[in-house]
C-alpha cells in the first residue's frame, strides 16, 4: 500500500524532473529565441512547486504516523515526542532541512513568477527563471541522491524512534528560527538569479535592481529576524549565558547578512547615480555564494558546531555547487568586462554616494574579517595538520572598530546630500545630533558606566537617532505647513509618502538599539558561578539569590531536574526561578534550560551547572546581563522597519509642495 514514503519519493523525483524539464525547455527556448518554448518552459513551475509541497506533506505524514520504516522518521521522532516537535522534526536533521529549503525556494519562485506574469516573455525574467530552475534542480537532486529523506531501514523496523535532537525539542523557538533563517538564505536566490540574467542579457542597468528590490528586502528581513531569533534561542535555550559565540555556523549566517546589507545600500547609489554596477552584481553573487558556503559548513562535517548536522555525503555536492556559482558569476562579469563599468564618478568625498561607498567598504571589511576567522582554522589544518580554534577575542577585537565606524556612518550618511555638500549645510544638520551624542556619553559616564567601546557606542547611537528624529521632525513640519494638517495625520502621511525612506530609518534605529544592547551587555554585565546549599543566599551585583530546593519532573518525553531559586533586588521581589537540566530518551546529553528574569535594564540569568551533590549543594551560573531586552526589541524594530520599507508609497498629491529638506532622503532616496 502506498504510504508517505512512496508519496515522498514520487514527489522528490517529480520535482527534480519538473525542474530539469523546465530548465531544459526554457533554456532551449531562450537559445533559439522561440517564445512558445519559453512559455512551455514556464509551465513547469506549477508541477515543481506542487512536488515540493507534496514532499513536505509526505514527510509530515510520515512523522505523525510514526512510520519508522523510514530512517529519517526513526532517527528524528519518538512515540513520546509532542506534536509541535514532531512537526518541527521535518527540518531537524539534514535531509528534512533540504525539504524545507526546497519548499521555501519553490514558494519564492512561484511568487516571483506571479509578480512578473505580465512580463513573462521578457528575456531578463526568463533567464532569471532559468537560473531559479537550476538552483531548484540542484536541491531536488540532493534529495534524489545523497540526502534522500524517505530512505527506508535495511533491518528490522523499530517500535519506537530515537526522538529529535534534544536541543531541538526543548523550546518552541525551533518552529521559527530555522524557517526564518532559511527564508532569508533562500530568498537571496531571486536577486542572484536576476543579477545573472542581467549579465547574460546585457541589461545590467538599473532595471534588474528595481525588479528585485522587494525580494532582496524580504530576504534580508527574514535573515535579520532569523539571526536575532537564533541569538534569542542561544540565550534562552542553550544556557551558556550568551547569545552569540562566533560559532562558525553563526558566522555563516552573518556573512551573507553583511554583504546583503551592503547591497541594500549600494543599490541606491546605482539607482540614483548609475554607479557601482560591477560592485552591486558582485555583492549579490557573493551573498548567494555565502549562503551556499553556510549550507556547506553546516552540512559537510568540516566543522564542529552546535548547529552542525551529522557528517554526510552532500559536502562535495555543495562545494561543487559553490564552485559553479562563483565560477559562473565571475565568468560572466569577466565576459562583460569593462562594459559593465559606468562613466559616473564621485564628485565630492563629502556626499551621500561617498558615504555609501565607505559604508560598503566597511561591510566588506567586516565580512572579510568574519570569513577569515571562520575558515582560517581549516586553512591551518590543511597546511599544518594542526587543529586550532579562533575564538571570540579575535572577532570581538576586530568587530568593535568596524562596528563603531558603521554606527558613525549610519549617523552621518542619511544627512548628506547627493553629489556634494557645503560645509555650512553639514554643520547645520549635524550640530544638534552631535551635541545629543556627547550629552548621551556624558550621561552614561555620570551614571557610573565605564568602558571606551560601549560609551562611544552610546554616543554614536544617540548621534544617529537624534539625526533621524531631526530629519523626521523637519519633514513633518514641512508637511504640516504645506497641507495645513494636524500633527498626527501629518506624522502618518509623512511616513506613507515615502515608506522606503522612513522604513530604512526605522531599521537604522533598530540597529542602534541592538548595537548599544550588544555593547552594554558585553561590557557592563556580571557573570559568576556559585555553589549554594539549600536556603543559602548569595548577593551578586545587588541581587539576592536564595536556593530553595530541587525537584525532578518526569514525562515520557524527558526527565527534568529543576532547582528553585528566589531572586530579589533591594526591596523588589522578582519571584522564584527554576533553571533545569533535562535528559531525553535515546540521547546521552543533559540539556540545560536557563531561567531568566527579564528586566528593562538588567536580566538575571540563572543556569544550572551541576545537580545537587551529596551535601545538597547546587552549582549555578548567574549572569546579571544588562540591556538584553533591548537587543530583542531592537531586532523587532528592524523587522518593523523592513515591513515598512515594503509598503508601496502613496502617490504624491498633484499640488504637493516639496519639503524644504528633500535631500535628507536616505534609504529610500532612490524612489
Amino acid at each position: 500500500m502506498a504510504g508517505p514514503g512512496a508519496l515522498g519519493d514520487f514527489a522528490v523525483v517529480g520535482g527534480a524532473v519538473s525542474a530539469a524539464l523546465g530548465a531544459g525547455t526554457l533554456g532551449l527556448g531562450l537559445a533559439r529565441r522561440n517564445s512558445r518554448l519559453v512559455d512551455a518552459g514556464r509551465r513547469f513551475v506549477a508541477p515543481m512547486c506542487t512536488a515540493a509541497v507534496l514532499t513536505f506533506v509526505a514527510m509530515e505524514w510520515a512523522l505523525f504516523s510514526h512510520d519508522y520504516a523510514i530512517k529519517y522518521v526513526a532517527n528524528n521522532v519518538a512515540n513520546a515526542t509532542p506534536g509541535l516537535f514532531t512537526f518541527t522534526a521535518a527540518w531537524g536533521a539534514l535531509e528534512g532541512s533540504i525539504i524545507l529549503w526546497v519548499v521555501i525556494l519553490c514558494a519564492y519562485v512561484a511568487i516571483t513568477m506571479l509578480a512578473f506574469r505580465r512580463r513573462r516573455r521578457d528575456a531578463l525574467v526568463s533567464w532569471a527563471l532559468l537560473v531559479q530552475y537550476l538552483v531548484c534542480l540542484f536541491f531536488f537532486a540532493l534529495m534524489v541522491g545523497p540526502a534522500r529523506p524517505f530512505a527506508t531501514q535495511s533491518g528490522l523496523i523499530p517500535f519506537d524512534g530515537n526522538g529529535p535532537n534534544p536541543l531541538l525539542q526543548n523550546h518552541p523557538l525551533v518552529a521559527f528560527h530555522p524557517p526564518m533563517l532559511y527564508a532569508g538564505y533562500v530568498g537571496m536566490t531571486i536577486p542572484f538569479s536576476f543579477a545573472i540574467a542581467a549579465l547574460i542579457t546585457g541589461r545590467f542597468g538599473e532595471g534588474w535592481l528595481a525588479d528585485t528590490r522587494r525580494a532582496s528586502l524580504i530576504a534580508w528581513g527574514f535573515l535579520t529576524v532569523g539571526i536575532v531569533l537564533g541569538a534569542w534561542w542561544s540565550y534562552e535555550v542553550l544556557g551558556w549565558g550568551g547569545y552569540w559565540g562566533w560559532d562558525p555556523v553563526e558566522n555563516a549566517s552573518f556573512l551573507p547578512w553583511l554583504t546583503a546589507t551592503a547591497f541594500l545600500h549600494s543599490v541606491m547609489v546605482q539607482e540614483r547615480r548609475a554607479m557601482l554596477r560591477v560592485w552591486n552584481i558582485s555583492l549579490i553573487i557573493a551573498t548567494f555564494s555565502l549562503t551556499i558556503l553556510g549550507t556547506f559548513l553546516t552540512r559537510s562535517g568540516v566543522i564542529n558546531s552546535v548547529h552542525a548536522f551529522s557528517q554526510s555525503d552532500i559536502g562535495p555536492w555543495l562545494l561543487s555547487f559553490l564552485g559553479v556559482i562563483v565560477a559562473s558569476g565571475l565568468g560572466l562579469i569577466a565576459w562583460r568586462g569593462d562594459r559593465l563599468r559606468t562613466p559616473g564618478r564621485i564628485d565630492s568625498l563629502v556626499s551621500r554616494e561617498s558615504a555609501f561607498l565607505a559604508n560598503n567598504l566597511l561591510f566588506a571589511a567586516f565580512a572579510l574579517v568574519v570569513l577569515t576567522g571562520t575558515v582560517f582554522p581549516l586553512l591551518v589544518e590543511a597546511l599544518n595538520n594542526q587543529q586550532i580554534s579562533i575564538g571570540a577575542p579575535y572577532f570581538d577585537r576586530m568587530s568593535l572598530p568596524i562596528g563603531l565606524a558603521l554606527l558613525f556612518m549610519m549617523a552621518v550618511a542619511p544627512v548628506l546630500p547627493w553629489r556634494a555638500t557645503a560645509g555650512e549645510v553639514l554643520r547645520e544638520r549635524l550640530q544638534v545630533p552631535a551635541v545629543c551624542g556627547v550629552v548621551a556619553m556624558a550621561f552614561v559616564v555620570v551614571l557610573g558606566y565605564r568602558g571606551l567601546g560601549p560609551v562611544i557606542a552610546v554616543g554614536l547611537g544617540a548621534f544617529c537617532v537624534a539625526g533621524i528624529v531631526r530629519n523626521f521632525a523637519i519633514a513633518v513640519r514641512a508637511r504640516r505647513r504645506a497641507y495645513h494638517e494636524r500633527t498626527v495625520p501629518a506624522l502618518a502621511r509623512t511616513v506613507r509618502s515615502n515608506p522606503r525612506k522612513w522604513g530604512g530609518l526605522v531599521v537604522h534605529t533598530g540597529v542602534v538599539v541592538v548595537a548599544i544592547a550588544i555593547a552594554g551587555s558585553q561590557s557592563w554585565g556580571t557573570r559568576r558561578e556559585v555553589q549554594l546549599k539549600k536556603n543559602q543566599t548569595v548577593t551578586i551585583a545587588g541581587h539576592q539569590l536564595t536556593y530553595l530546593g530541587s525537584s525532578i519532573v518526569r514525562s515520557p518525553q524527558k526527565a527534568t531536574l529543576k532547582v528553585r531559586v528566589h531572586v530579589r533586588h533591594g526591596g523588589d521581589d522578582f519571584g522564584v526561578y527554576a533553571p533545569a537540566i533535562s535528559t531525553f530518551p535515546g540521547s546521552n546529553q543533559g540539556i540545560g534550560t536557563p531561567s531568566v528574569h527579564v528586566g528593562l535594564l538588567n536580566d538575571v540569568y540563572l543556569s544550572l551547572i551541576e545537580a545537587p551533590d551529596d551535601q545538597g549543594r547546587v552549582t549555578l551560573q548567574v549572569g546579571i546581563n544588562p540591556l538584553m531586552m533591548w537587543l530583542w526589541l531592537g531586532g523587532g524594530i528592524m523587522a518593523f522597519g523592513t515591513l515598512l520599507c515594503l509598503v508601496p508609497a502613496k502617490r504624491k498629491q498633484p499640488d504637493a509642495v516639496a519639503p524644504p529638506e528633500r535631500e535628507l532622503a536616505t534609504v529610500g532616496a532612490g524612489t
Binding site: F296, G315, A327, L378, E381, A559, T583, G586, D614
Partner: protein, 178 residues
Amino acid sequence: MTRVRWVVTCVAVVVIGLVIVLAASLGRSHDTSGGALVKHPAPAFSLPALGGGKVDLQADAGKVVIINYWNDWCIPCQQELGDLQRLWSTYRTDPLVAYVGIVHDVHAQRDITDYVQTEQITFPVAFDPGERTALAYGVTGQPETFVIDKHGVVRNWISGPIDLAKLESLIEAYKASA
C-alpha cells in the same frame, strides 16, 4: 586585460584557494569527542571504587575492558542498565574480560550508593571526582561506552545506549584476536 577582468582574476584565485582548503577539509575528522580515541591507547586511570578500594586500568592489562560512563539521573543510562547488568553477569567470571561503570560528574556519591542498592546493580562502579578521566576520554555526556582490546587500545566508542548483542560480539572478537 581590462580592469574588471584583472579584479575578477584576483578574486577567482582567492576563491579557488578557499575551495581547495574546504575540499581538503572534507572527510577529515574534526572529532574532539571520545570517538577521537578509537585506535589510540586507552588513557590510564586509577579511581576510587564504590564500596572501597580502587579500580585500576593497568590491573586489567591483557583483558578486553568495557568502560561505561553513566549516571543515575540519565534516562538512557537507566534504559541500558539491564543490558549492562546482563553483560556483567555473562563475563564476571571470564578472566579475559573486565568491566567498570564510571560515574564522572560531581553528582551525589550517596545517591549512587542508594541507586545501586535499589536497582540491585552488581557490576563494579568507580567515581571520577575531578572528572580527569572523563576529560581524558573526551566524555561529553552519559552514557558513553568504550571497548578496549587486550593490547590496551580503544577499539570502539559508543555514544548513547548500547546494543547488547553487538557489544557481546565485539568482546568475543577481541578476545579471539591475537
